[in-house]
Amino acid sequence: MEQVLCQTKGLYRDFPRKGGPASTATHYCPGCGHGVIHKLIGEALADLGLQDRAVIISPVGCAVFAYYYFDTGHVQCAHGRAPAVSTGISRAQDDAVVISYQGDGDLASIGMAETLHAANRGEKIAVFFVNNTVYGMTGGQMAPTTLIGERTSTSPHGRDPQECGYPVHMCELINTLHAPVFVERVSVSDIAHIRVARKAIRKALEIQRDKKGYSFVEILSPCPTNLKMSATENAAFVNEQMEKEFPLGNFRDRSEDATPIARAQSVYAKEELDRIFDLRAENTAVPSVDGVAGGNAVRLKIAGFGGQGVLSFGLIVARAGVAAGRHVSWYPSYGPEQRGGTSNCAVILADRRIGSPVIEQIDVLVAFNRPSLERFIGDVREGGLVLVDESVGAFEAPAHVRMVFAPAQRMAREAGSPKALNTAMLGVLAACGDLGLSDAALDGGLLESFGARPKLLDVNRTILTLGKEWGTRHLA
């Protein structure tokens, strides 16, 4: 007859999630360290009053069934991903006390990246790393922490560092990072060691209670089944061989100095979001309506060097189109192309829904440099407009296009704002009349582009006018 002498704190009284017979026994093997570690964590959570706040991550490995036992919230996750999953929980629920409980294969092999990066971000989580030098659940394979010469089912002749490298020292690795608050290596090989481990585990959880940041406790633990030892032999193995490779001790305790991590509260109100997106009355336009321009679509290609304002030229035109209630699309060259120093974009203004935003036939080509002119002039339709900066030099225009050489760079420079050459060019284009946009719409485009910077807005308004005047004078 089973008799409970002392109910362990923080764990369920019995384990219905486990199912099957022996509902108060764990699934762990005799002599395994997980049971002791579970008790230490459960007791600390209960003593610190953290069970409501606690979410324990069940990793892949023998502790995948941690959710059978702890009287807390549970999330089971993919192999090695517990620190990332913990990050998600901790960020989403600021008050949650998140425990990432992991074995050596999970934490130091397949999940090494997640482990180090969660530590490096100083996530508000407690990581309990159970190091028993071997994969348990899958049948005793070599782990990243397997000792040199140690036999496992995948190092049958002993771990050979020439082939398999050396045991990974996680506390030492994590101790190279700036953010962690608490790093300690302990053991649960015997009573004396368990007493020390108990303190470290409590400390790690106190840090979580106080929201002070990342704590990491590595626990050297026996696995008699897979190490093929008796419990006594395994205790000696931990004390004599593992400790030699993985020295016990505290590596870091900054819990006194660490300040609680404060996270913002979500704001959901529409008015607040409207404010965040700066939705102001003056940049509120009408939705696109069919037939507003009463004419055909205008397809513009704008091209030049990076820094000549190619993309923003296109955006101003597109925004002017929006201000006029036209259907509008703007599509850039993106990726490596923009790093090559040249860029281009396509803008379509239309009086009905736009199909593809990619242009095959160009109505208006604006080229700020010669390579752009040469690249795209072949795509300009008959009767189309080609607007180039005069700096491209002499160029024989094909007979079927209208070509305009404008001193955009010069006008912008003389007006004291060489960067506004694109706006000067836009002024000239406006004078050509091909866009079918009113002065008010163009000003709307400028306002939307520069509205937040009044000085720039004024400069660009002036230069747009200069361009328009030049255009009107020379193109009449």
Binding site: S58, Q76, A78, Q93, D95, S266, K270, V328, P357
Partner: protein
């Protein structure tokens, strides 16, 4: 009514914030990076959480963790990143967690290039990761829908406790169009019946997809299939254009559908009775509507895709291969030329014109 010229990738973030999304986790990849960049700017401004993860794998697992708490959460990526996330998506589906994943598709396979493509259809619409699951897949065709369908994705994810994809492409992500900002903002409520939120009320809950008992595992799978059947019966969305008297239906989604829309106009001007069916949900797929269309005498279909022809399988399955279905496609970052679709229409309908 607030209207502004907005980039497709930015519209995703706008939609997410008005939908009450609390957490964004992501990793940079062209042509989806602006989703990450915009999120890094606007999520914190609204007090929401943003983490640039160390990898795509970590990002989807952060999504998994945050989704476990019952919050509205999301990530975005492009083909190679989505491939990496598939394990996590399978876990989301298996653990029945709501989450939104945006795929701004680029050309593949392998590293491919950053041009637009629709070659992720199989890996997104058919499951993609291990196990018997489907994801709801929404397919926007404009910047407006990048915003609106992202918002809808959160509602669907929560209603069915399942991951929902927004399947876009490089063009939709990179282009600017006028966006009408949402008229409503959602203040989401955590469902304490299943979430694990680190609170007294959710302490007894457990998020898991492991079931050692074969019958128990099968029961979960059966329940999932029932859920997907329910989704198929209730959530099909599509647009149609000039299908009333059509003898040929173009089926296309995303940016290809816009090209097809223009083609319908041109073909109609030439006297062809052509229409367009644009699925807005790829799972569930508009099977019933396709089956109805297939009953018309002499009906035929063209699938327009920027892939090797992936959706075309679903069209053929929906109509039991009862009508001719032909493919007009491009790959590698190229868009389908309207003229190529027109040529196919002429070839398929030429005699009856």
């Amino acid at each position: 009514m607030a209207m502004r010229l907005v980039k497709g990738n930015a519209a995703v973030v706008i939609g997410a914030l008005y939908a009450g999304c609390d957490c964004y986790f992501g990793y940079p990849i062209t042509p989806a990076s602006e989703v990450l960049q915009e999120a890094s700017e606007y999520f914190p401004r609204a007090g929401r959480r943003f983490v640039q993860a160390e990898s795509e794998v970590a990002a989807i697992n952060m999504v998994y963790g945050a989704a476990s708490t019952g919050r509205r959460v999301m990530t975005a990526s492009s083909g190679p990143g989505i491939s990496l996330k598939q394990e996590g998506v399978s876990y989301l589906a298996g653990s029945e967690l709501p989450a939104v994943i945006v795929d701004v598709v680029r050309a593949g396979p392998g590293l491919g290039n950053i041009g637009p493509e629709q070659g992720d259809y199989f890996q997104v619409v058919k499951g993609g990761g291990h196990g018997n699951y489907r994801c709801i897949v929404l397919a926007p065709d404009s910047v407006q829908e990048m915003c609106d369908l992202t918002r809808k994705a959160f509602d669907l994810a929560q209603r069915y406790r399942t991951p929902v994809y927004v399947l876009a492409d490089g063009v939709l992500g990179q282009m600017y169009e006028p966006l009408q900002f949402p008229e409503e903002a959602v203040a989401p409520v955590i469902d304490e019946s299943w979430a694990v939120a680190g609170t007294a009320l959710t302490r007894a809950n457990c998020i898991s997809s492991i079931m050692l008992d074969f019958n128990q595992m099968e029961a979960l799978n059966v329940r999932l299939q029932e859920k997907y059947a329910l989704i198929e019966s209730r959530e099909v969305l599509f647009d149609e254009y000039m299908l009333e008297d059509a003898e040929l239906a173009i089926v296309a989604y995303g940016i290809s559908a816009r090209i097809a829309h223009s083609v319908v106009d041109t073909a109609r001007a030439e006297g062809f009775k052509v229409g367009l069916l644009r699925p807005k949900t790829l799972f569930p797929f508009p099977k019933v509507r396709l089956r109805d269309l297939a009953k018309r005498p002499g009906m035929r279909f063209i699938s327009v895709e920027m892939s090797n022809g992936q959706m075309i399988d679903d069209i053929r399955l929906a109509i039991d291969c009862s009508c001719p279905v032909e493919l007009v496609n491009r790959m590698g970052g190229n868009l389908v030329a309207p003229s190529a679709v027109l040529d196919k229409i002429r070839a398929m309908c030429g005699k009856e014109r």
